[in-house]
Amino acid sequence: MTQCISNIPFLAVAALIGTGLSIIVFNRNLIKLVMGITVLEAGVNLFLVGLGYRQDGGVPIYTNACHTNMVLPVPQALTLTSIVIGVAITAFMLSMIMVIYRHTGHIDAKRSRTLKG
């Protein structure tokens, strides 16, 4: 039973990554592409956090270490870093889309001029 429960996060990871990839592959709207990246990123972040989880583990804060069994802190640090980077990427891509929209009046990758060869 505990085995099943501990696999649930990874099922969610698979679902999120699958959704993200399908959005990226099948959509041509630039905003939706960015949304796809964000969903994909959520999946990967959940994967990292899920890896570090220990059954009945405590909070990995040193000053209140009442549990001997602690959740791994390193994956959380990794996830935090990747969230920070994700914010930067999302903001950057969205602002690029804004300028593209102002120039061309559309945000459709299919109608892009530069998609040649």
Binding site: I61, Y62, T63, A65, V87, L94, S95, V99
Partner: protein
């Protein structure tokens, strides 16, 4: 935005900012830290921009000021890392000194604010950078949208 939104955000603003700063200051003993606190603080800025409009906020706080603050935060961070370079890059040279120098007690305790050496200072540097950076992003985007609307 309507008067209700403006009034509520005026009230909320102080709490959001305080909470953001608290998260930055306490980052080395409780959950939180530079980025998280900075993000909370910047969400307060977003509230202001949404409620009062970017142009009005921009009159009080220039985008170029934010840009300078952001660079200062980054420089402070790298400066702190370079400060330990006599021993090693990122070496915590403040442990045992009079600035955040206490060494935390072992085992469960109430948590001492005056610990961590360079880490709280780095949290503040990162916090400054994130506050400035995220607010700048929100500002610039909101201003650009406003400009686009007025052109049409």
């Amino acid at each position: 935005m309507s008067k209700i939104v403006r009034t509520v955000s005026e009230l909320l603003m102080a709490f959001v900012f305080t909470f953001g700063l608290y998260m930055i200051m306490h980052g080395h003993v409780t959950p939180g830290g530079g980025f998280q606190g900075g993000a909370v603080f910047a969400s307060g800025m977003t509230l202001l921009v949404v409620a009062f409009g970017a142009e009005k906020v921009e009159k009080r706080l220039r985008a170029s000021t934010l840009s300078v603050l952001e660079s200062t935060g980054a420089l402070a961070f790298i400066g702190l890392a370079l400060g330990g370079v006599a021993v090693g890059f990122f070496y915590n040279f403040l442990v045992g000194s009079s600035v955040f120098g206490h060494i935390p007690a072992f085992g469960p305790n109430r948590g001492d604010m005056w610990t961590g050496g360079t880490i709280p200072l780095m949290n503040m540097a990162v916090g400054l950078k994130v506050i400035a950076g995220l607010s700048l992003i929100v500002f610039v985007m909101a201003l650009a949208v406003g400009k686009g609307r007025s052109e049409q």
